[in-house]
């Protein structure tokens, strides 16, 4: 539940050493580089150079997708080549053979496609018992192969006076396949007639020879042999890719790394065209280790100082949490990181979210399932949400055990409770509706009080006394809230009238007035000039704000009723599943229970997850959290992010 302390680091070096220095920064794994401030003077300027590695990365990336190589990050320390041109030559050497073979496979595939088209034609002309080449070589007679729509075929008899012969060899239901012979001298006229009849001419390629059957067989043989050749070629390509995959990935990894380093050059300042200034931050505990990396570089100076010593600095935020709370940082980042000098609410979120989810989704069996599914997502798929599910699942299981619910079976754990000395399960949800709803409100009160106390502490820490003392989330608001609650509880539940004039004046009216005048009082204490506004404006705006604070306390508290609502809804939904299972009879009941549980886990799990997060963001975070920080991003991670973009 903390924000890691950082030290501000200034690195100075000659421009010649820049790449080496940046590599050391990456190697450290803990250096956050600051964007350059170029407003210092004429002698300071930024480095704006074209990245020579970018085009190579694009080229190699398209080659990877063409040949189906999946990029894997590799250690490239064995690669001696450094410059873009050297790496380009190396890449071309490997790529050229593979690309040549790929080109050949494309030609072959195209050829096979063509031959298959021809095979389709030949299959319709199988009946031709004359050699195609002989037919092609006729001088006085022209031959046209093709297909004629069946409807048009019927019209041929009306042209019987014309000198042509149409031989058909097949009928596919739509066309007659065949060829017509016509004296070459009048072929244009006959072609016109056939064209009017929608004859679709087929131009058979020169390789078609022999009779219909022979041509078909020869073509199929050719297709077979080309397919074999294609298969061998693809095998060769695969082998070649397998052989070079490792090296290509190494080259790609190195290019990505060098490109990233090059991009970092835009984040430094050049002074007097000679010197380089790099500004950044490292975690305090790694500061010495970081500085020691540059010991061997004589011309490089590294200076560090704790961020706390310099108020002008605006350091990034590096969250530091234990193994339980760490995954919940995802929710905090979603809302916005705390500032470096702010408060990290991750642990608070971890505890409250786990508690809320467990309460609202209390079922031993379903909790264990969620936990196992979460563990799978986290450990196998590396999905951070999985780690959260792993934790909240356990919470569900614990509350499920307390409520005695296992996959909707409300009395399955009764023997266990009896062995533990209870008469029956300790808490029956449906018999304690009021207790659950009042309990949910009480939980809300506790949450609100805790968040106000946190806000008061932050206010004092930041010396913001208006926030700590007079705001609705300061001491005044806390007293006002507790006093009203105390009065209500005393009157309605305990039967004690606490709302005496002294109580009302000191614990309700005065805190309300303090909230009303909070801005003026804050300025007076912090010795700041008071902003001048009209009396009418001041009264109107503050009256409505204080009114809204009071209303906010009421609605925020009641908002937690949903916790109770979901406890009841979960129990209700599972009882419906059980009822349906009963109706389904012996054979169907197991199936209904399984499907019902899956449905409830999926739907209610999702809703409870969202509602818990809503409570965190609206009822908890809104009281004390600003989320105006920026992330600490080590340069090695930054390089990865740049390249992934």
């Amino acid at each position: 539940m903390a924000i890691e302390k950082l030290e501000a680091v200034d690195i100075t070096c000659y421009i010649e050493d820049l790449n080496e220095v940046l590599k050391k920064c990456c190697q450290s794994g803990c250096f956050h580089i600051e964007p350059p401030d170029n407003s210092k003077g004429e002698k300071f300027r930024l480095l704006n150079e074209e990245n020579p590695y970018e085009s190579l990365i694009t080229e190699l990336s398209s080659f990877f997708s063409k040949v189906g190589i999946k990029y894997e990050e590799k250690n490239f320390s064995s690669l001696k080549e450094e410059s873009a041109s050297e790496l380009s030559v190396l890449t071309d050497e490997i790529k050229s053979d593979i690309l040549k073979n790929i080109e050949h496979t494309e030609e072959l595939s195209e050829d096979i496609k063509h031959r298959r088209q021809v095979a389709m034609y030949l299959s319709h002309l199988e009946g031709i018992d004359e050699d195609y080449q002989k037919l092609f070589s006729c001088k006085n007679v022209s031959v046209r192969f093709g297909k004629l729509p069946i409807e048009s075929y019927e019209k041929l008899s009306y042209h019987k006076d014309k000198p042509f012969i149409f031989n058909t060899y097949d009928n596919d239901g739509e066309y007659y396949w065949g060829m017509y012979f016509v004296p070459s001298s009048i072929k244009d006229d006959i072609d016109d007639i056939f064209s009017e009849l929608y004859f679709e001419r087929i131009r058979l390629p020169d390789f078609v020879e022999g009779t219909g059957k022979d041509a078909k067989i020869n073509n199929e043989k050719a297709i077979f042999s080309e397919r074999e050749e294609l298969k061998n070629l693809k095998k060769q390509i695969d082998e070649s890719i397998d052989k070079n995959k490792e090296k290509l990935n190494m080259i790609y990894s190195k290019l990505v790394y060098l490109s990233g380093i090059f991009e970092l050059r835009r984040e430094v300042v050049l002074y007097d065209d000679k010197y380089i200034l790099i500004k950044g931050y490292v975690p305090s505990k790694k500061s010495e280790e970081f500085i020691s990396l540059f010991k061997e570089l004589d011309t490089v100076t590294v200076l560090s100082r704790p961020c706390e010593r310099d108020n002008r600095l605006n350091p990034p935020t590096k969250l530091k949490n234990n193994i339980f709370a760490e995954p919940f940082s995802m929710f905090v980042e979603m809302y916005g990181l705390p500032s470096h000098h702010g408060f990290d609410p991750t642990m608070l979120v971890a505890i409250t979210y786990t508690l809320l989810f467990g309460l609202m989704f209390a079922d031993l069996g379903q909790g264990i399932i969620i936990s196992i599914a979460g563990a799978f997502l986290w450990h196998v798929k590396k999905n951070k949400l999985g780690a959260i599910l792993e934790r909240v699942g356990i919470s569900s299981a614990v509350f499920g055990f307390l409520f005695g619910s296992v996959f909707g079976f409300e009395h399955l754990l009764d023997p266990v409770f009896r062995n533990m000395g209870f008469e029956e399960k300790p808490f029956e949800v449906m018999d304690n509706i009021n207790t659950i709803l009042y309990g949910a409100i009480a939980l809300g009160v506790v949450f609100i009080v805790i968040t106000i106390i946190i806000n008061i502490c932050i206010g004092f820490k930041q010396k913001d006394y208006e926030r700590a003392l007079f705001s609705n989330n300061g001491i005044a608001g806390l007293v006002f809230f507790i006093a009203i609650l105390g009065g209500l509880v005393g009157n309605l539940i305990l039967g004690m009238n606490l709302l005496t004039p002294v109580y009302v004046v000191f614990l309700i009216v005065i805190p309300a007035l303090l909230m009303f005048f909070r801005e003026i009082l804050g300025c007076l204490i912090m010795k700041k000039p008071i902003e001048k506004v009209g009396v009418g404006d001041f009264i109107a705006s503050n009256f409505f704000e204080v009114f809204e604070f009071g209303l906010g306390f009421a609605t925020n508290t009641l908002s937690f009723v949903r916790v109770g609502g979901f406890i009841l809804s979960h129990a209700g939904m599972m009882s419906v599943v059980m009822l349906l299972a009963e109706m389904a009879g012996k054979s169907g009941s197991i199936l209904v229970i399984i499907i019902g549980n899956i449905f409830v886990i999926g739907m209610e799990g999702l809703i409870v997850g969202i509602q818990s997060l809503r409570l965190e963001f609206y009822e908890v975070f809104s009281r004390f959290y600003d989320g105006d920080g920026r992330a600490f991003e080590p340069v090695n991670m930054k390089i990865k992010n740049i390249n992934s973009k």
């Binding site: 409807e151 064209s195 929608y198 679709e200």
Partner: protein, 350 residues
């Protein structure tokens, strides 16, 4: 008189209308640069996929593709009529009669041109199957008398038998066209009055009347624009349907001296105002498209609002025919390298 309810046919017609080509489809078709690409798109993405399923789109003949699309529209009509045995009602022969008249007119054009031996290539056998005379036999016609011989037992014989050739041996196609089409329109009106009653009869008379009235508006414009015809001459070519234009405006329209004047008066009629509001300003270049647009818009409105089968079949067939015409416009446009913008302007999309 038949009073009937054929809700299933109405539903079927409307469902079919839902499957029509939309603006996006036309936009996609206009992006195509070859006939095979158009055929492939129609085969993969439209209600023509069934009729094109056996077609090799890579090699299909343009003319055959157009023929298949026309055949499909005709078959759709046959299917709709057969669905609830509406084909037993005489009115539903209107499509066959219309096809027969078109074939006869085309045959006379071939006789005049002296190319009758090629006429057989233009006859669609699917039409011949439903013809009241041996349509395929028209392939053997070489003279006008040959044609009369074949038509002897049909009503068309009486209508065209007295036609005489001019000095060049040509028959007056325009006059025969007017005679046959007038016969057709009268036949449709009589059939509607005979076969339907009540609101069905009223709706059918209304929609057919509007469609032919609009044809009259365009035909009158053509005569005015190309031969400066006066009302007396124009009144001979008009279909015998009452006009929806007020009498005063109608006479004003017919008595205009130029095509431009005609358009100016037309703009002040109900039709003209509707075209201006719904489509574009009427001009000499656009009037054909504008009138077609309005005819289709009326057909669409009647299809949507009507709950009787006759109106549904009549209007859906009208719209489907326009759809095929649009596709053929795109095919021809691409074939002759017409700019996409110009092709788009010729399409009638309502």
């Amino acid at each position: 008189m038949i009073n009937y309810s054929y809700n299933a046919t109405v539903a079927k017609a409307r469902t079919f209308y839902g499957k029509r080509l939309k603006e996006d489809d036309y936009r996609e078709l206009l992006k195509k640069t070859t006939i095979p690409e158009i055929a492939e798109y129609l085969k993969r993405n439209t209600h023509f996929s069934d009729c094109l399923s056996n077609i090799d789109t890579a090699s299909v003949h343009r003319g055959y593709l157009e023929d298949i699309l026309n055949r499909e529209t005709f078959n759709e009509y046959v299917r709709l009529c057969n669905f609830q045995k509406l084909n037993e009602i005489s009115f539903f022969n209107y499509r066959y009669i219309n096809s027969e008249i078109n074939v006869i007119l085309r045959c006379i054009i071939y006789i005049n041109a002296g190319t009758t031996e090629k006429f057989i290539d233009t006859i669609s056998p699917y039409l011949a199957k439903h013809s009241s005379f041996d349509m395929m036999k028209l392939g053997e016609v070489r003279t006008y008398n040959d044609l009369l011989d074949i038509l002897q037992k049909t009503p068309y014989y009486e209508i065209i038998k007295d036609q005489k050739p001019d000095d060049n041996g040509n028959y007056n196609c325009t006059e025969i066209d007017i005679l046959l089409k007038t016969y057709y329109v009268n036949w449709v009106k009589d059939a509607i009055k005979r076969d339907f009653s009540g609101s069905v009869q009223k709706d059918m008379l209304e929609i057919t009347g509007i469609l032919y009235d609009l044809s009259n508006v365009y035909n009158a414009f053509r005569y005015k624009a190309f031969s400066g015809a006066d009302y007396e001459e124009i009144s001979h070519i008009l279909f015998p349907v009452p006009s929806n234009i007020t009498k005063y405006r109608f006479y004003e329209l017919m008595n205009t001296n130029t095509a431009e004047e005609y358009i100016d008066v037309l703009k002040n009629t109900g039709y003209g105002r509707r075209i201006t509001v719904e489509n574009s300003d009427i001009s000499r270049a656009s009037i054909n498209h504008d009138i077609e647009f309005l005819r289709n818009r009326f057909a669409k409105n009647y299809l949507r609002k009507s709950t009787n089968a006759a109106v549904s079949i009549y209007t859906i067939l009208f719209l489907l025919t326009t759809e095929v015409k649009n596709i053929i416009t795109i095919i021809e446009g691409i074939r002759y390298g017409v700019p996409v913008q110009s092709i788009e302007e010729m399409l009638v999309i309502v």
